[in-house]
């Protein structure tokens, strides 16, 4: 029986063999793998790209003090971006399930309509939730828009829910009983984090401090975005750090929400503020990608073409 980490290793190897860069998790709080710059920014613009990474994803409101067998504050997603999407993308996806030991001939797979939309990121896509024997294991999305920009190279985004997939493979009813490594359970590794984070998120997080932090990060992002139009050497401009400020705001918003500090009327307005920042960053990034480089040595790092 594969451990949690075996499943990760195998999926990463599988996608690495299909031309994906294997990235490490993004090192700031995000609500989903989509929000990491490896997805949010890389899907923009004309450059093909293939990447896979595990992304711990934080959703404060989903925390259950470690008491619910299926709900987690922080769960791990395997995020795969194939830009542009290959024609046999679904066949490749199904083969990845076989790679972790699921004999497709003995199971029931269904693709159920599920179109994805993130108002905060100005992003949306068309796709399915993939059901394995009645369990949703993957969100499959053809990106259509990101940061308010229509995407010309349509990427396929595969998001695997790693805990539930492993619980399925190991036949466990609770994610905490999953074997993470030989002799070590998921609960051994993560339970304290779930409990303590739930206490913080629901009970102790200081609302005025969160609002203040939200304002500071928003201000910093706005300040940076305002500098861009007149900034002389575009490729040096800190778009990525500006985006990090957006992610901070997004996480703070989620925290405030789980503290019950955002009224319904405020909610739309606050989402609108984060969205405005995200759209601004997306525009800068796209502009930067297509701006003429000053000299070859000044080409921004990390934009080499990687793909099939």
């Amino acid at each position: 029986m594969d451990t949690f980490q075996d499943v990760l290793f195998k999926l990463k190897k599988y996608w690495s063999d299909r031309g994906c860069i294997i990235q490490e998790p993004f090192d700031l709080e995000v609500g989903a793998g989509t929000m990491a710059p490896e997805t949010f920014l890389r899907v923009l613009g004309p450059k093909p790209y293939r990447v896979a990474y595990v992304q711990p994803s934080r959703r404060p409101a989903d925390g259950r003090y470690g008491e619910n067998p299926n709900r987690l504050y922080k769960h791990a997603q395997l995020q795969v971006i194939l830009k542009p999407s290959p024609e046999d993308v679904i066949a490749q996806y199904l083969a990845s399930l076989e790679a972790i030991g699921i004999d497709l001939k003995k199971h029931d797979i269904k693709f159920e309509e599920d179109n994805w939309e993130s108002p905060t990121l100005g992003a949306s896509g068309i796709g399915w939730q993939v059901m394995l024997d009645g369990l949703e294991i993957t969100q499959f999305t053809y990106f259509q828009q990101c940061g308010g920009i229509d995407l010309d190279l349509v990427p396929a985004e595969l998001t695997y829910g790693l805990e539930r997939l492993t619980a399925f493979l190991q036949g466990k009813d609770s994610v905490y009983d999953i074997e993470w490594a030989p002799g070590v359970s998921y609960g051994d590794v993560r339970l304290a984090d779930e409990l303590q984070s739930s206490v913080y998120n629901f009970e102790l997080a200081d609302v005025p401090t969160l609002w203040k932090l939200f304002g500071l990060h928003e201000g910093e992002c706005q300040r940076l975005l305002a500098l861009y139009p007149d900034y002389p050497q575009k490729h040096r401009f800190p778009v990525l750090p500006a985006y990090e400020q957006v992610l901070k705001c997004s996480h703070l918003f989620n925290l405030l929400d789980s503290r019950g500090a955002i009224s319904v009327t405020e909610r739309v307005a606050v989402i609108g503020r984060v969205r405005k920042l995200a759209l601004g960053v997306a525009q800068c990034w796209l502009d930067q990608q297509t701006a003429p480089a000053e000299t070859p040595e000044q080409m921004p790092a990390g934009t080499a073409e990687i793909g099939q």
Binding site: F111, G134, V154, D173
Partner: protein, 676 residues
């Protein structure tokens, strides 16, 4: 010669609910294409699975029929001079590429002209299809489309991955978004080959051997038969669920039913919760015993042919267990706070930005509920209490998780918290009827609450200008209005429509639209009957219904339609004369014969008709009016309304006017479309 045609559009998984409308659109545009090109269509048949839309025609001619056209040229008078063709004739013959001797002469109203019979050979059907199919396919309307080949690329519901187009033995060549048509289909993702060469003749068999049942009808039957088969000897039966069967038919290429079980201890949860989890979240049929009680089983339909090791069953059982655990947790936690204690919390749930929170809505609905209860002469107590608690379940974890259970959960929690029957049942039923098939609330309080809730939404949205346009109706106002109409009619609530609409003329008109739809399309009354009855008054819908039933009953009798035709004539005469009534009939100047006879017959009937009408006994009232037909006919036959003597004329108009008003309180007969 005629040959069969096969078109298969191979795609990634199409949402199940979009498939049938898409097939209908595909078929109708194909028929239209053939009609435009004068190709006889023959029998056309469509089929689909989630991954393919299929259109087949049994026989299509290989060629369009040849066509003949008569092109007219110069007049004969200008075409020949002294028996010799002029330049005009020679020019025309040259243009048509024939000798002058081959030209014909035709007679026209303007004289004799030269003409040329031009034969055009019919085009090959294959060429016509090859040109037209890409547009035809991409023209299928979908609720939401996507692009996959760049933002200026083709748009379809999901990416097109292969195309089969065969006319007889030949491929009809075309391509869409880089996919060229051919003769290669694709099998079931797990059970078949990815590439299967097919012919028109062996298509079904090839796909069947590769795990795909092409016909929805067969998949549907397979699901039903397997469910019956597995429950037959267990004294159990699956709850009928047509919509779920359709979903499963179109979400599978190879449906196979399996029976799973859950721990009977979950049966202590409300059946509504268990069924909703199974149906909406897992697409399972629920199972009941002989007595109709929920049994600890479910039926899942797989998209594969077997579950030999029971892996799929166990997987589904585990998922259901987790969901039931959640539900049990919510059921317990939610009851730690009573509905009454949740009212204040509704201030934090937005109903609509301009219409305020659900607390605001609750206050308005309470007031409105009291008002309609008084109008209906019902006890306002239970309705008001129900209105106060009605929306509180929106703050419960169960409803946040299982939104389909709003209202129902409120009712169940209210019952558990000791609210009286009238109150909890009203809360339980508040969103009914949710569709045309759904029943209206079971109790009077339930009907009044549902009415008040829907009217508040309608009044509010109309006040701030959120009126549905075209297919856009984000607040489901049509459904709300339809619910209002059905509750009034089927709940026998004779409340005045204009008061319910709070005097908003646009809202009254909106409701009347639903009234027309309801009586015509749902109840099956003829449109002219509905128009006739509504023209005579539409305030009280129960009365509208009674009048419609009466008209429908009287209409087949021999006197009715001819009388309706006469009433149309009366209405025209009165309108032309600008007569609006008022003057009493003077019996002294009635001419003996048909005029006096009509008057006498009318007078004899009048009080009887009035009595019937008062008692809303419309059928005998209409029969009595219809019995006047011989006198009316004779009157129009023999009497000149437009008599030279103004007094006589005006007296005759008065007679007609009174006759007309007496009947038009029931229906405006002039709206009846007669065959005469």
């Amino acid at each position: 010669m005629s040959v069969p045609f096969l078109l298969e559009i191979g795609t990634e998984e199409i949402p199940d609910w979009m498939i049938e409308p898409a097939l209908a659109a595909l078929e109708s545009s194909f028929v239209q294409l053939l009609a435009t090109d004068r190709v006889p269509a023959g029998t056309i048949k469509t089929d689909a699975t989630p991954r393919r839309l299929v259109l087949r025609a049994a026989e299509i001619p290989e060629r369009q029929p040849d066509s003949e056209e008569l092109v007219s040229g110069p007049p004969v008078s200008a075409a020949f001079k002294d028996g010799q063709p002029t330049g005009a004739a020679l020019g025309f013959a040259r243009k048509m590429s024939v000798e002058v001797s081959a030209l014909e002469r035709i007679e026209t109203p303007r004289g004799e002209y030269l003409a040329c019979r031009k034969l055009t050979a019919g085009r090959a059907t294959r060429d016509i299809l090859s040109e037209a199919l890409p547009q035809l396919i991409l023209g299928i309307p979908w609720p939401k489309t996507m692009y996959w080949e760049g933002k200026n690329g083709a748009r379809f519901i999901r990416p097109i991955r292969w195309l089969v187009a065969l006319l007889g033995g030949d491929v009809v060549p075309f391509s869409i978004a880089g996919v060229a048509s051919g003769n290669v289909s694709s099998g079931h993702r797990q059970l078949g080959a990815a590439q299967i060469p097919v012919t028109v003749e062996d298509y079904d068999r090839q796909l069947y051997e590769n795990g795909v049942i092409v016909e929805a009808r067969i998949r549907r039957t397979k699901i039903g038969a397997e469910i019956d088969g597995m429950l037959a000897d267990k004294c159990l039966k699956a709850r009928e669920d047509h919509a779920l069967t359709e979903t499963l038919t179109y979400i599978t290429e190879q449906p196979t039913a399996i029976l799973g079980s859950f721990d009977p201890e979950y049966l202590s949860l409300p059946a509504e919760v268990l069924v909703t989890v199974m149906r909406h979240h897992q697409k399972y049929f629920s199972v009941e015993d002989d007595g109709g009680a929920l049994a600890p089983h479910f039926i899942a339909v797989m998209n594969t042919n077997a579950d030999p090791d029971g892996l799929v069953r166990r997987g589904n059982e585990r998922v259901l267990r987790a969901r039931f655990n959640d539900a049990r947790f919510f059921w317990q936690v939610d009851q730690q706070k009573s509905l009454a204690d949740r009212v204040a919390g509704l201030a934090h749930v937005t109903f609509q930005a301009k219409l305020g929170s659900y607390l605001d809505k609750t206050r308005r609905v309470q007031k409105l509920a009291r008002k309609v209860a008084r109008m209906a002469k019902a006890d306002p107590g239970p309705v008001e209490r129900a209105a106060l608690l009605a929306k509180c379940d929106l703050t419960t974890d169960m409803v946040k998780e299982l939104t389909e259970l709003q209202g129902v959960m409120g009712g169940l929690y209210a019952r558990a918290q000791g609210e009286p029957d009238e109150v909890w049942r009203a809360i339980y039923d508040q969103y009914k009827p949710e569709s045309m098939e759904d029943a209206i609330p079971a109790t009077v309080s339930g009907r009044l609450l549902s009415l008040a809730d829907k009217l508040d939404t309608l009044q509010g949205c109309f006040r701030i200008g959120l009126v549905p346009t075209g297919s856009k109706d984000p607040f489901a106002l049509r459904r709300a209005a339809q619910g209002v109409v059905r509750i009034l009619v089927e709940g026998k609530l004779g409340l005045p429509l204009s008061k319910l609409a709070n005097g908003d003329a646009a809202l009254v008109e909106f409701l009347l639209d639903r009234v027309r739809y309801y009586f015509k399309d749902v109840r099956g009354f003829r449109y002219d009957e509905v128009n006739a009855v509504l023209a005579a008054g539409a305030e009280d819908l129960t009365d509208v219904e009674s009048r419609l039933v009466a008209i429908q009953a009287v209409r087949p009798t021999g006197d009715f339609e001819p009388l309706a035709a006469s009433f149309k004539r009366i209405k025209n005469i009165l309108r032309q004369a600008g007569y609006t009534g008022g003057a009493a009939i003077d019996p002294a100047i009635l001419e003996a014969g048909p005029e006096a006879d009509l008057h006498a017959a009318f007078e004899r009937l009048r009080s009887r008709v009035g009595r019937f009408r008062k008692k809303k006994n419309y059928e005998p009232a209409l029969e009595a009016i219809a019995s006047l037909r011989p006198q009316v006919d004779l009157f129009f036959d023999k009497v000149l309304v437009n008599a030279p003597d103004p007094a006589v004329r005006s007296n005759r108009l008065s007679l007609l006017h009174e006759l007309f008003s007496e009947s038009s309180a029931i229906a405006d007969f002039s709206e009846i479309v007669t065959t005469q």
